[in-house]
């Protein structure tokens, strides 16, 4: 039963509650970094990593420190500082101990601090807490959100690759046609409605 609910959470985060295409979070990197496939993948992996790490740290802090002391209003300030700190930490650790990984992922890390998808996921998982939704669900949700980001980025990189060779009217060149392409990509994801409930019936 637990496995089922975890899979449902994971799939929903990618398909029906995609952070980029449905929730409109993480648009700046989505539009800016999806031009080439390898930068798209690199950014998405870094984002996923930070999302899971950030949720892992902020969730217990909120539940066991902020709520009992009645200081929920510190959520925004605390979370964004934690994320900024985590990103710095990850950058330092990568640079020192895994330089190869730093070379491929590290350059995206500073951008992730202002990525609204990361702050968004840390806050949104807390809104779902209930009898069927615990710490482990939050972590899986964060992971799913990152993978959803990856899927959107990779798909979009493919679309943009094709756009390079297309004959585009002058005024649509650059951002406008990119946004139209994004609108079509988002449209295709609307087709997943109801997919997760049918696949993983929980009741």
């Amino acid at each position: 039963m637990l496995i089922k609910s975890l899979i449902a959470v994971f799939l929903a985060a990618i398909l029906t509650e995609n952070y980029v295409l449905s929730k409109f979070l993480g648009i700046c990197p989505f539009l800016g970094v999806s031009k080439k496939l390898n930068t798209a993948v690199g950014m998405s992996v870094a984002v996923t990593f930070v999302m899971v790490l950030a949720t892992a740290v902020t969730f217990p802090i909120y539940m066991y420190i902020l709520v009992p002391s009645g200081m929920e209003y510190l959520q925004t300030v605390l979370f964004i500082l934690i994320i900024a700190g985590l990103v710095q930490l990850v950058e330092i650790v990568l640079k020192k101990y895994i330089p190869a990984l730093y070379k491929s992922l590290g350059i995206y890390l500073p951008l992730i601090t202002t990525n609204c998808a990361v702050l968004g996921v840390t806050m949104l998982v807390l809104q779902k807490v209930g009898p069927d939704y615990t710490y482990i669900h939050a972590l899986v949700n964060a992971f799913g959100a990152g993978i959803g980001f990856l899927v959107a980025m990779v798909m979009f990189a493919g679309v943009r690759g094709r756009l390079e060779n297309a004959d585009i009217p002058k005024s649509l060149k650059g951002l406008p046609i990119t946004l139209v392409a994004a609108s079509l990509t988002s449209l295709s994801f609307l087709g997943f409605a109801g997919f997760v409930e049918k696949l993983i019936p929980l009741s």
């Binding site: 029906t16 509650e17 449905s22 200081m71 209003y73 510190l74 300030v77 500082l81 809104q127 779902k128 209930g130 409605a193 109801g194 409930e197 009741s203």
Partner: protein, 190 residues
Amino acid sequence: MRKKISPKAIIIPTISLFLICLVVTAVLALTNSITADKIAENEAQSKQESMFSVLPAAASFEEIEPDVLYQGFDKDKKPVGYAISTSAQGYGGSVKVMTGIDSAGVIVGVDVFYNDDETPGLGKNTSNESFRAQYKGMNTKEDIVVSKDNTTGAAQEIDAVTSATISSRAVTKAVNEACRIYNEKAKEAK
């Protein structure tokens, strides 16, 4: 190339950042003390409004189970039924429903007091009076089914909002859950 970092270069930035954090926290604590009561009042009020709307005969409510089960009394302090708050997973998130059931076990009102995660124009239309009115008059003895899913010929069925089957199913599920709570707990409390 390693640069020599003097202790001063670390301490001063740290202290100033710490001071800024301290001031910000103080300002937030101050604002919180000013607004916290009003915020709690707002939340309580919207729930109250919902309860009164689903059980119109009630003049006051008594909490039986916090956040879930409330017994309604008219102005002569006679019990007139229950307001039950339940939720179910909808299309974009949870859907929160308040169901009013009278002493005869008949549903007298349904209010969808949270469905902001549903699609505007589609799932959000489950808050419309025309959809919610369908539940009025149904009993708590049998489950309610969305007509689209009615494969067993169940007696109590409602029509989903067009193109919003998932949201409609969610509301129905929440109402059925309220009926279940009524059957289990409200009857005992009588």
